[in-house]
Amino acid sequence: MTDPNGMSRRQLLRHTAWFGAAVGFAVAGGEVISHVAGEAVAQRAHVRPTLRFAQVSDSHLGFTGAPNPDVAATFRHAIERVNNLGYTPDFVLHTGDLTHLSSPEQFDQAKQMMSELKTPHVFTVPGEHDSIDDAGQKYRNTFGADAVGDGWYSLDVAGVHLIALVNTLNLRKLGHLGVDQLEFVKKDVARLSSDTPIIVFSHIPLFAMYPRWGWGTDDATEALSHLRRFSSVTCLNGHVHQLFSKTEGNVAFYSGTTTAYPLPHPGDAPAPKPVTLPAGKLRDALGIREVSYTRGQTALALKERTLQ
């Protein structure tokens, strides 16, 4: 039977068949692409990555409040996560705000807890919460033994060049590196060949993530200009308590999440104040990051893990 204003049963069946074919081909196509991507990953997996490390950030030890009543417990959980990755990371990065109020007790607690990380090296940079009243002196006394200047440093691990930058000591509205540190970066990379993979880590993003909230660094462009000639540059940061990624030319930026409490997405609130999530949801917003680099690849592989 045919409805004069609609389609016949035969037409309906035909359209249903086309729709089914579209869904079927889409699923099959997705399977093929996933398989190809999986093969590529598996091929890389046969070769042990040149470098594997973990990033934790913004533990805010000493914070008390409804957004997270026990930041020490969630930081401990993050440490356990790192210790149970199934391999020993070459190092662990903490991208700042280890403490909430920069007290000696909080620094002691951070140092003691991080000594439980099963890794040969732990590298840190200070956040603005780690340098509240003394321009980072207590931070440097606890964590800055190998640093130069006011806490920045660089080193080479497995052919990868790491640069730790401090952009929280001369905070205006945005993060700030300063002339001395810019000079350090310029001289530091001058000796490196352009195919050396570079990993830069800092607390405040080196890209303009949301300048209205201070989520950017006012003189980062100059620092990054010294890195333009390198084929692989990856910048890791904390501060924003949420995952975010951005690519600018040869530089990939990745903001990491926190082990303490979430902050609103850019512009979602009048100010970046701690967010209280419904019961049971907090640990989904907290996490750690695994990063691996395989020689010959320009991009680092990142894997985000929640604390759930």
Partner: protein, 125 residues
Amino acid sequence: MIGILVRLGLAASLTISGAGHAYLYVHGYQHIPTIGIGFLVQASVSSAIALLILVGGPGWLRWAAASVAAGSLAAFALSRTVGLSGFSERGWDPPPYAAIIVGAEVLTVALWAGSLAVRRDLTPR
């Protein structure tokens, strides 16, 4: 004749867009939270629609093609401005794929709009 050319053009432009997204997915974008799966879905849906348009599927497939292309263009614009699911890129990064994909998607939308206009002109009033 125009109908066949439009069909071939839509299939080709969708294939280019889907292949570009698939290439970027395999070469790194799979590691980006949310965006990775978006690239996979775009690539597989575009390829499926391209194939069905090529073999002479019904007219609504052209609407689907235009929707996928327009949605991808909107996502591209968001990723260059306010960000999309915590992801943002600048300009035509990664070259040359971004420019090729955007060009193909603009062509898809243009072919769909053109075929719609031609069809309206040919409809007896």
